[in-house]
Each structure stands twice: as C-alpha cells, then as structure tokens.
Amino acid sequence: MNAVIRTEQLVKRFGHVTALDRLDLEVAQGETHGFLGPNGAGKSTTIRVLLGMLRSDDGRAELFGADPWKDAATLHKRLAYVPGDVALWPGLTGGETIDLLGRLRGGIDKAKRDELLERFDLDPRKKGRSYSKGNRQKVALVAAFAADVDLLLLDEPTSGLDPLMGAVFNECVKEASAAGRTVLLSSHIMSEVEALCDRVSIIRKGVIVETGTLAEMRHFSRSRLRATLKNPLRGLGDHEGVHDLKVDGLDIECSVDTAALDDVLAQLAVAGVAGLTCEPPSLEEIFLRFYGDELAASGVPNGESK
C-alpha cells in the first residue's frame, strides 16, 4: 500500500509543552482517513507539521514520500487545505480569494468552482469582512474542492456549517474520494467520520492511541447487551468478557467484549431468552473509552455508559 502521509515517532514541542509525543500516523493513497481527538490533542499541530509550517523536533514526517519541511512549496501543488477557523482578508471578496488560492496551485477549474459556489450557496461578491463564520469556511471549502489535487487536508472543516451544508460537505468528500483523492479529515463530529471515513486514528495528548477501520475498532470494543431471561442466571458476572453487569430480577444489562459474545450468548440461551437487544458500540463510545479518565476528571462518571 502506498502511503500518502506517514509520520514516525513525530515529536513537536512548544517550549515546555510537548504537543506531539512520538506520533505515528499513516494514511494510504485513496483512503478517507478520520483524525479524531478533542481540542488540544494535537490534530492541528500534526497537520501543520505535514504542511511544513511547523518544524518537527524529532522523528519523521513524509508527504508523498518527501519531506514536508524542505519541499513544502512543491508538495503544496498536490494538496488543498481547509483550516478549522478560516480568516479571510476583509477587503477581498470570496470570489477573489477562491481564485487566488486556486492560482497559487496553478489554476482553477472555473466550471467546478461555479458549481461548488452554487452547491454551497455562497455569494462570491461579498467582501471577506462581511462573511459569517460558516461562510468563511465555505470559501475555503470551495477553493479546496475545486482544486485538482491528490490530497485534501481538512482540519475540522465543518465547524460553523449548518446541517444542510454539512450534508453538501459529506457529498463533496465522497466525490473527492470516488475521484481517487486521499482525504485526511480531522474532526470531532463522530457521525461525519462514521459516514465518510474508511479508517480512523484517535489521537490523545499527542499520541495515536488507536488506529484502524471502524469494523476493527468495534471488534476490539464492547457491545451493549440487554436481555430479559426466562430463568435466573448465575455466574455471568464472573465471565471476564462481561462488564458493568446490572441484574434486576430477570432483566440483565451489561457490556460484553466482542470476542466474548459467543460465550455469553450461549450462557443466556441456557437460561432461556424472552427478549434480547445487542448494540455494537458507536464510534463515539469507542472514542470516549480512550478518554475515560479525562471524563472522570471532568465529573462524567463513566465514559462508556450513556
């Protein structure tokens, strides 16, 4: 597999703060990769190192097999970037900004640009100072999706967009993916990532704590199981794959490791099942599991339970 983005043991420090602490990230060609983490986890820092704006202190970062710090300008011809908070020039119109950004990559497809303006419902004649946050975001999105590039770096691109425009955004990402583009989508909107991404990396305090497809992640995670039994069942709590068991007469509720589902279902069948629901974990639950201790510190009792 050809990696478009590869970092190995990437370290970035700002003074005493270590923003990236030996971060390993790999994004294959053509995939849409979700980059999940709360604010301050290091998502934007990673992307800025990949853009050659920040110089890494240790480790390696590669973009299309080249060094993003040394070859920034050449590499940037092959990518488009949308920051999370787009600042525009107050005196330039949206249309001028889009054209300028396109020309910096050697030209813009006018038909594509106009089509995107239509789809995102953006007036290109307004000056930068008069756009709302969502509209500023749209300016950068139109410029990025109109560009004929191999890689899209999207850093929380939908912050400020309304749900309608969020749907347009999702369509545009799918089209880009269908056209063979690689997408790195940093986000904390789980539904967006679940809908769009082939693989996901979860970042925490500058380290990738989990990476894989959603199916893989679910496999290593727990399903939520509720059942109403016909007869009382003993010993379920002793099973090492069963967690947070609550028994209320014949009603039971617990989380079960995906690997232990077989076993647990067999035990339930012995007691007789009157009713059963079993939900795979949502991405949100997987995500929150990695942040359980931080949630506890903020007063949320258990990251996994809803």
Partner: protein, 545 residues
Amino acid sequence: MTAAVAELEDGLGTLAGTGNLLRFQLRRSRLYLLGWLAGLAGGTWLVAQSFPGLYPDAAGREAYALTVNTPAMRSMTGPETYIEAYGASTGAMFAHQMILWTGTLTAVMFLLLVTRLTRADEETSRSEVFRANPIGRRADLAAALLLAGLAAVALGALMALAVAALPGGQDGSAILFGLAHTAIAVLFAGVAAVTAQLASFASTANGLAFAVIGWSAFTAGVGNAQENWAVWLSPVGWAQETFVYTPDQRWWPLAFAGIVAVLTVWLAFALVTHRDFGQGMMAARLGRAEAKPGLNSATALTFRLTKGVFWAGIITMLLLGAAYGSVLGGADDMLEGLSETERAVLERGGSSIEENITATFVALNGLFASLFGLLIVGRARKEETQGRGELIAAGAVPRSGWPGSYLPAALWAATAATVVAGVFLGLGGASSLGDGSYFATGLWASLLQLPAVWALTAFAFAAFAWLPRLGWLRWLAWVWLFIVLYFATLLELPEWAQAVSPFHHLAAYPAEDVDWLSAALVTAAALALAALGYAGARRRDLSFN
C-alpha cells in the same frame, strides 16, 4: 394631544436604560479615554512648557515668523493672523503651530471612540447582549454620545490647563484653546454617530469619518495657504479662526462647530430608528465575483494588501518634501530665529546654510519614508497572528514568497516615498530659492539616503523573521536612529552609539562630498540583512492562530 404625549413617551422609551449603559461604557472605555486624554493633553503640556525656553525673545520669534509665512508652511500650520502676532505672543506662535495637529488628533480620538461604542459593537453582536435587556432602541447611541460629550469636556479642561502657563494671552485664551478642542471633539463625535448609522461595518464607518477629517485638513490647508474662504469649510479651520492668543482673538467661529454637532447628532438619532439592528443605511457594497488576472501569487496579494500604506507614504512624503523645500528660501532668516541648540543640530559642515539644512532634511525624509517600510513589515506579522496567511502558506508558495514578499513590498514603499520626497524637496527648494539648479541637488541628496532606508527596512524584516514576537524592536531601532540624527551632537552620544545608524555613515551631501565607499558599504549591509531575513523566514515555524 394624547397622540403627542404618546409620541413623547415613545421617544423617551427608546432611551430607556441609557444611564446604566453609560456607566458600563465608561468602565469599558476607561483605558482608551485615559490613554488618549493623557497623550493629547500631556503632549500639549510638554510642548507648551518648552516653547518659552526655545523662543525666549520677540526678535527671534519674529525672524522665525518670516520663514513660516510661506504657502506650504501655512498649509501645515495655520492662518497668517497668528504669524503677525509671533513677536507679541509666544502663545500665538504655539497655537499657530499646534491647533491643526491637536485638533486633528482630537477628531481621530472621538470618531474612533464613537464608532467602537456603536457600529463596532453592533457588528460583533456585542450590543445584541444589551438589546436583549430592557434598553431602548436609541439608548446605546445616546450612551455613546453622552460619554463622548463628557470626554470632550474633560479634554477641553485638560487642554486649557496644559496651556495655562503660556505667556502672551488675552482674557480667557487658555479657556478658548480648550473650548476649541471640545468643539472639534463634539463635532466629530456627531459625525461618527452618523457614519455609524450609514455603514454596516466599523471599518467602513471609520473610513467615512476619516474622509471628513481628510476634508477638514485639506480645506484648512488650502484655505490657509491661499488665504481664502476654503478654511471656513473646515471644522479644524473654525478652531484656527478663533485666532486664540492673538490680539484678534474671538469666540464666535466655534458656534459653527456647535451647530454642525447638533445637526449631526439629530440626524444620527433620526437614522437609528429607521434601520434594522445590525444593518447600515448603505448596503454593504458587493465586489468582484472573480479575481483580476493579476492577483495570481503571494507577491501580488502582498502588494495589494499594502497598497493603502504605500499611498499614505507617498502623500505624506510629498507634503513633507514640499514643506521642507518651501522653507529653504528663508533659511538665512530662520537661522537667526533659531536657538543655539537648534543651530547645533543643523551643523553638517557645509559651506552654506542651505547645504546644511538640505543634508538634515534629506536624512529626516529618509527616516520618515522608512516608517512606511516598517509599517508594511508589521503587516506581515499581523497576517500571521490573525491567521490569514495560513491559506497562502498552505499554497504552492515558498517562504521567500510568503512571508518573503513583504520585504520587496516594504522596500518598494520606502524607496518610492523617499524619491517622491526628494522630487518635491527639489521642486519646493528650487521655487523658494529661485534657483532651478536646486532641483537636482535636492533630489540627488535624497536618493543618496536610499542605502540607509534599505538597511533600516531590511533590519525590520530580519527582526520579524528571527524574532517575530519582538515587534517593538523595529520601532526601537527607528526611534534610536531618530535620536542619533537629531540629538547626537546635543547629547554628545559616543561614536559607537551613533555607528548603529546607517544614516550616520552616509556623507551629509550636499554639505559634504558624496562618499561612494560608505554608500556601497551601507547597501551591502542592507543586502546582508535581507539575506539574513530570508534565511530566518525559511527556518522558523509559522505560528498562525
């Protein structure tokens, strides 16, 4: 009858909550007000303190009066009536030279104050927070104008105190001087209140109000230069027409300012209820849907974004050059009017006073032209801290293009401003001396300052590239160079302290012969600083917020 009462009640209802709002706005603006009031009144006080010592005797002041009585100098000071009173009154000399500037700064202070309390709050939705409370539709405008009124009275009182000790006044001269500033303040508060209703954005509102200031300075300048009616079209001109501190002192011209203030305030209150919250009377103008073909690189963008600073530099230096040139004709007389210390400043080792003065003027021109280069370097930092540069830096642009293109933009502005100053120094000098050959001397002397202009600008860029957080470094350098140029001989600065200044190394042409070697060395230093700057721009992290 009942309808009239209802209307009155409605009218008062729109003002509900003004008192609370006023207290809140006063609290929010206290630093702004303190800073401006202290700066304006304190600066005026300092100058007023130094005047009697600088020009102690009537004969000296009269000699000085001859040099300022040229059209160009009058346009930058005030009417001739003051000049005639120079000998009799130090206060007249002071008021003549100050009112245009303190008056204009007062106008700036009050228009910015009113805009930030009205349109800027509406634009950022801060005032939506107030409007959700039981507060009338006109209350925020009323609070802003009341606050401006209080500040205007405070400013007038402080200005009167600042000049109270000046000799040569008539009855109530100090009070009239203060009142003139109060009048200008109230008038421009009214103007800004109107532009805040017209425009949808604070920047547009300020732009419109600044256009009124430009109008005010322009008509006063033309009117005073030509000695005609144009000065009566100028708000600052009305303050000048009081002839404060002269025997012809009069109060009534300030009534014009009062009338215009009342009219503008009335208009603002009328407009505020005729528009929707958050909107201006003028719709925001739409611009181009597509960029012009020329806007195709980071460099093109940089030059476009710095166009305003560039033209401000050209116009400022055009005026400064012309003013310096116009003084040359009366240089001999001026020398007699100068104090010992001022003569020492001008001493450059030349054979004639014109040569000495020209050498000083061109160095000053170079230093002032560099200001605009420094301002443009500051823009590069602003693009970084405000995050706009991020979109460009993520494009296929090397660091030499962004932020690197700010160096050529800064050099271009500083160079063009120096050349324009040289051309107009030459023209003004040739005309005031009645000697056409001076044009070449003045222009050539100005061009010879360019290596130093480049070195200072390149230093600012290198400082930005290596030490982006220390923006004050470039201003420190500028101020130090100014001190070296102006006060080195007075303060007996050691040679090493002067050697820091690139201007110090250039020969004081035409007072001295051209020194090609030092010109080449300063140019080389500028190149080295530029190279250092580019190396820094390549090396460092870009920190966008």
